[in-house]
Chain length 343, copies 3
């Protein structure tokens, strides 16, 4: 299937600069592009458009001295994403409940729902309109799945959990497993039943094999629009704000609360029972051991302002040299003392 540049521009509310009649058959990155492909360019990459073999390019402001047609939009990456989807329509799974799915008592299933092979949906669960459940999805008692949510193969939603609209759970994600809470008496640990649930608000994504534990009481909560990558752990009673990113292998311990627009880069760990403000970014592998106010970029373990962490890394490199200098100073000072005593 091909589209003209004009058609593509219209589909993303963009403006064509150049020949809108050129036919485009695929999407490619700028450096691997070909005449039948459309690419996009932002920031420093704009200067490579001239050398690219792309047939057209999406930009945020018209570029000068570029022969190929340009589609000008406010956000080139978003527009490119929309056009990608035009060229690669996802596999369509037929709606309906597969004959092998097991549906409990008093389950409510909305319109245009796909329930794949070998799904298990337990009593009183509610499945909203247009939901897609891939094979082996498990929905526990009383769980609620909002409209347009997609749950990939083998993901688990334990009992009483609530998922908003347009939520995505990737394969093997586990929502609402019992939190890691124990009472210890004479060195022996007794599990404290965790009777709360998990709430994932609208537009939340959870990656493959990520685990969001349920609350001891109340709810573990991930607010609207937050995106969680693979192999992430959220402990019981954690609260994550809106539009956050939790990159792969991040772990957040129980009862920690975090504001909006926070980024946890990969392998960052965060202790429990602390508070993190809005608009904070943590570099990869940060170890967060105390509350952090709004606004700022942190790194290191314990966490410190990123700039300080960078400086310290430099000084750590110089440590052997510093030690040598100190030794030298001691020696010279001793010599001076002697010299002075001799006078």
């Amino acid at each position: 299937m091909t589209y003209t540049v004009e058609e593509l521009a219209n589909s993303v509310q963009g403006k064509v600069v150049g020949d809108g009649s050129i036919e485009i058959a695929e999407t490619r990155s700028l450096d691997q592009a070909a005449p039948q492909a459309i690419s996009f360019a932002v920031g420093e990459y704009c200067e490579y458009v001239g050398q690219s073999k792309a047939g057209a390019v999406i930009v945020e402001a018209p570029l000068k001295d570029v022969r190929i047609p340009q589609i000008v939009v406010s956000n080139a990456k978003v527009a490119f994403a929309q056009i990608l989807q035009k060229f690669h329509p996802p596999v369509v799974f037929p709606t309906g409940v597969h004959e092998t799915a097991i549906i409990g008592k008093d389950v409510t299933i909305g319109k245009n729902v796909t329930v794949g092979p070998y799904c298990v949906i337990y009593d009183n669960a509610v499945i909203g309109d247009n939901v897609i459940l891939h094979p082996y999805v498990y929905i526990g008692h009383n769980a609620k799945i909002g409209e347009d949510t997609v749950i990939y193969s083998g993901a688990i939603v334990h009992e009483n959990c609530i998922l908003g609209k347009r939520v995505v759970l990737r394969a093997k994600a586990v929502i609402g497993g019992e939190g890691f809470g124990f009472a210890t008496e004479n060195g022996v640990h007794t599990h404290i039943p965790q009777v709360g649930n998990v709430i994932l608000e609208d537009d939340v994504e959870v990656g493959s094999c990520s685990c969001v534990d349920n609350a001891t009481m109340g709810s573990t909560l991930v607010r609207r629009g937050t995106k969680i990558d693979n192999l992430v752990h959220l402990g019981h009673n954690v609260e994550i704000g809106e539009d956050c990113f939790l990159i792969a292998q991040v772990g957040i311990a129980g009862s920690t609360k975090c504001g909006n627009h926070v980024i946890f880069a990969g392998q960052t760990g965060c202790t429990g029972h602390i508070t993190i403000g809005d608009n904070v970014t943590f570099a990869a592998k940060t170890g967060i051991i105390g509350s952090v106010p709004s606004n700022g970029t942190y790194a290191g373990f314990p966490q410190r302002p990123h700039r300080e962490w960078l400086k310290q890394s430099v000084y750590e490199n110089r440590l052997p040299e510093m030690a040598k200098t100190i030794k030298q100073l001691e020696k010279e000072l001793a010599a001076l003392k002697e010299q002075l005593a001799a006078k």
Copy 2:
């Protein structure tokens, strides 16, 4: 369902101080409590009981000047956990083998067992009394599952593995996957078959998506009462003692042996072929690269006594300042020398 304070006290062998006839309908944390709710308080939290709206409170010693009835027990957290369970009886899954479960040859299934939809149990496996297998649980050839064990959806017990009594495997836990063992010849890695198994003793818990590999020969072993959180990795031939905690995302490399009552906080990593004593605590993100004797608290990478690690963290913060001081000392020393030479 409601209980009187007296009834609740009796159920946890506690003593009532105050009015035992008050009706309690739910459990809540101290700060979110309400008159129909019971809470608990230990340590510093005891001073907040006076301000709480709770209808009753569980404590470890009678508090003075508190209007609401108190239940006095030896361990308030344990008692609260028991009462939590009274108010939140877990969903009951019907006993019996679901018609979609696949049962191999010569499988032994005890009394009151629940085998959920789409479970697969292979030849010669033994399932003890009162075991609950949730949907999609896989039990390999010759595996043994002890009485009262609960295995959540999609967890895997590979062939020959042995689980004790009251073991809990959370969703997607993988027990007995083949260890990561290779022989390398001319840079090409050939997998060494790992023919051992995994033994999880009584009262062990393994969290969601955690992986305990089988042994090359012999057994990977987790002893009685040890609790493992989500996304933890144990390599082949690891041995973990009794009553340990392995918090989320911990990784222990092959053949390491660890004593009793050891705590590995989140994201800690431990090299292989070492020995760790009893009663050791590792702070989050510790990197353990050598054997550690009994008793002590460690942190950092390489691991060091926690107190030293804290001190070093402080000095790392001062590094730029130290470097400046050294420069200043050099300058002053040079000036002194000059001055002295001039005399």
Copy 3:
């Protein structure tokens, strides 16, 4: 079943030194051996052969003063692995498609294939000869699985992914989940459809609960012979070379490219969009934040040559002492100044 030392030697193209007629019934490690068992010894372990109770031993050069028969081979570990397999033939799963497996349209299934209970294979997938799919394996639309590949329970191969020959996916591995790619506009993240695939070349292994994301466009690629442990994350468009090791809980961010024979030890993290050469080893918990040339061993965060990292660790231990010395120097210098001024 028993074999003579002669028979075992023949099966690994080895040479017998000593009595080849001795009967061997099992394999054991050197320290736990018994007269009916065969062990192996390399390097420093050779000196323990004399004290071992083993009935025979595999070595790489004939040992002197050893009473028991020796099998001399070029690689003792590889030979031992082959003999292990002789004594522990794996459970054989019957070939054929289980009656509960769901097979889509136009699926091609080779000869001697095992498709276990509750597998789901979607339209146009191709399954090569001798492939074994354990229960609950999901093969997406158009995916290709090469000959002799083994996929354990609950592993997922998403649509369009390509697996070579003799690939092993352990339980719950997820291949081709959608990469973590977003366009952010006014703080709101919109998922960019990831329309590429994953290619795992011949002899690649992926551990339990490891996740290899698909490419935004093109392919995420793991080349021949690379072995990936449990709980590892590979982001979209990552390329890993041949014969690499990625140990447990390693994370590699998107678009990073890595050469051949690279070892990432456990919990190492690697930033995106960088290049790593051939024959590089990263110690456990390394944080790689920039490109690394071929050949070398690195550690720390940011990564630095392993030797430097070790040296710095030592100096970090000395930091409090260094600070004290600096203070002392300041004091002495002040005293000297005073003394000099007084003269």
